[in-house]
């Protein structure tokens, strides 16, 4: 006897089904969904209307130069721009020689950075004649670096030295040497600002905090009580107060320690940032050190390596590899925290934005232009922080940290 045919199965795929199951499964869910939809559409329309018809983007346009380099003299803009070109060139080299998964990650980061710079280049080609060719040269330098690395892969050996040197070259380019005129005249750090300062403070901060942090982490594990307790005290004291406190402390107390000599405000803030980041770096590195099984060290000892060599060749490379994502996280935090230097009279991007909001032109606009400025600034921070966070995720996956 034949069974009657079963009814066809209810469709369980497709957009309509997804909607029904997730948003309109019963009457109150439908009600909530509809209400949410109305709110979202209304908000988006108001926002779009404001952005297209009411917002005063022209003031943001006029002040792009201040956002980038603040009061850096216009005729000397080629100096920070050479620095950008140098960094793009080195980034290109690194992306070009990179192999395997990590190479891919560096390449993607390079790709996005170039995209960002290309966008700025296009804008400046049409609108900002003073930096038009400089940006074009910077972009070309990036491509040149990438191509050079493809032809000459051996450059990989020198990359870390080149990156190290580039910091000094950039510092020299931006400062110049003494003299009141000429192409290499001295530009005091008081004239730096905007994105230039944000990058300088955070990159220098993390670069110098890195060795200091490793030293502190090793010191904390030392068997010599003096070193051990010094490191513990340092780390715990620094981590026990917010960065803003240390910025003020460095700004007001550093000159006292130095017997009345007052270093530039930039140096004072930079010292505070380095010391602060080093304490956090030390704790990250310590996490990595503790993750390395004791057997590794014992095996190294059995092979006849000195304690120093076993640390340098066996333990540290593995430990640091394990904490790369944490270090990237620290860098992202530091990148944003640099905006606190406003309170010690430095003009990073955030301070410049506040200043632009107080220009007389801005005061003629109903409600001011704080909203426009903050949107642009948030986009900038978001672009870089998100991109770094993506790279960090990819690194984590590549190193297999979560799966081992």
């Amino acid at each position: 006897m034949l069974q009657p045919a079963l009814p066809p199965p209810i469709r369980e795929t497709g957009f309509a089904f997804w909607l029904k199951r997730n948003l309109f499964s019963n009457w109150w869910n439908s009600l909530i969904s509809l209400a949410s939809l109305v709110i979202i559409v209304y908000t988006l329309i108001s926002l779009l209307r404001w952005m297209v018809f009411e917002a005063h983007w022209e003031i943001v346009w006029q002040n792009l130069r201040l956002f980038a380099t603040y009061r850096y003299p216009t005729e000397l803009l080629w100096r920070p721009m050479s620095c950008v070109a140098l960094i793009l060139f080195l980034f290109g080299l690194s992306a070009g020689v990179g192999k395997g998964g990590i190479g891919q990650i560096v390449f993607k980061a390079f790709y996005w950075l170039m995209g960002f710079c290309l966008a700025i280049t296009l804008i400046s080609l049409f609108l900002f004649p003073s930096v038009r060719w400089l940006w074009l040269i910077a972009i070309i330098a990036g491509f040149a670096g990438y191509s050079l690395a493809k032809f000459w892969p051996n450059v990989a050996m020198y990359l870390s030295i080149l990156w190290g040197l580039s910091w000094f070259v950039c510092l020299f380019l931006m400062l110049g040497f003494s003299g009141e005129s000429g192409p290499m005249q001295y530009v005091s750090p008081g004239m730096w600002g905007g994105i230039q300062l944000t990058f300088f403070l955070s990159v220098t901060g993390i670069a110098l905090a890195f060795p200091l942090g490793i030293a502190l982490a090793l010191g904390r594990q030392s068997k010599l009580p003096a070193i051990k307790y010094f490191c513990i005290t340092y780390i715990e004291i620094i981590r026990g107060a917010p960065l803003i406190t240390w910025l003020f402390t460095a700004s007001l107390l550093l000159p006292l320690f130095l017997g009345g000599i007052r270093p530039e405000a930039l140096i004072r803030a930079q010292v505070a940032i380095i010391l602060f980041a080093a304490a956090y770096m030390a704790e990250n590195v310590r996490g990595g050190l503790q993750a390395i099984p004791k057997g590794q060290r014992e095996a190294a000892h059995a092979l006849g390596l000195t304690p120093w060599d076993s640390m340098r060749l066996i333990v540290l490379p593995q430990a640091l590899r394990a904490v790369i994502p944490a270090i990237v996280g620290l860098f992202i935090g530091l990148f944003k925290d640099t905006s606190l230097v406003t309170i010690v009279g430095l003009h990073d991007l955030f301070a410049v934005v506040l200043g632009v909001a107080n220009q007389p032109e801005a005061k003629q606009i109903p409600g001011g232009i704080v909203r426009e400025l903050f949107i642009v600034m948030s986009l900038f921070y978001w672009f870089f922080c998100y991109r770094m966070s993506v790279a960090s995720k990819q690194l984590e996956k590549e190193l297999g940290l979560g799966t081992r």
Binding site: R65, R71, T74, Q364
Partner: protein, 339 residues
Amino acid sequence: MRKLFVLLASLTLVLSATAFAQSTLDQIKSRGSLICGVNGTGLPGFAYVDSDGNYQGFDVDYCRAVAAAVLGDATKVTYRGLSSGERFTALQTGEVDILIRNTTWTSSRDTGLGLNFTAPTFYDGQGFMVRAASGIETLADLDGTTICVQSGTTTELNLADVMNANGLDYDAKIAETSDPLLAAYDDGACDAYTTDKSGLAAQRTQLRDPSEHVIMDVTISKEPLGPSVRHGDDQFYDVANWVVFTTFMAEEMGITSANVDEMLVGSADSNVRRLLGVEPEKVEEFGLSADAFYNVIKQVGNYAEIYNRNLGPETVVNIPRGYNASYLNGGLHYAPPLR
């Protein structure tokens, strides 16, 4: 190592001691530029960075005036943008030579902080802005109203003091920064908005329809703003003070940056001749070159020019002269005689 440390420490001490021993005037001259502390985040009309990266404003012009007097060149100024938290430390520790950052002259700043204020360059005071249609004209009319005021400022305290003293009742609507507060006032959340009158004038232009709002003819606090220098260097204090007086005198005598050269050769008035250095003794007594005050007028202008350029009717800020007129026109600006 220990010896090296001791050597370095003593060297720093010697160096810093010599740095302090030199007078401010000599330091500025040997450095070739005046380090002037100004408002870092900007105050419309007083100090801000324009889109070309140059400092502009009323306070900034006084930095330029001092530089013109001491160095003969108004452009030789190194600006240090200061936050309100660090401005006094920066002056006390010698990081800036002079502080011209919309700073109110008070007794505790004179004594406790060790500052010397020159003659005020701008007499400010706390005022109120209301809707013209509301009919509020006197302080008593504010009884039972809602007033927008910035929290944590002397403005908030002044308001409470004066309202309590007059037995008036009010609701305060507070916010940390001025922009949201102003927006609240514009949306009708408050009947009145209070801050310093210079701020009222600058912020009125940010309202949707500035013409609907008036600044009341009531001033509830004294805020004399002016340059300040460190205690203990009377020579530089005199210079700063008399640069301010020079701008007043030039207005009193009708000398402007446009006609100063004619006055230099043509004037028979000995007051003018002393000021411009034709008779050089009086100016040279300050330790300045004979043309110091001439340079101030030539390169920066007299008080009226400075005022009109930054705060006058042609500008966005547009603050009526009021107390800030010369005494000849019923204001408070009055220069002692140069003789």
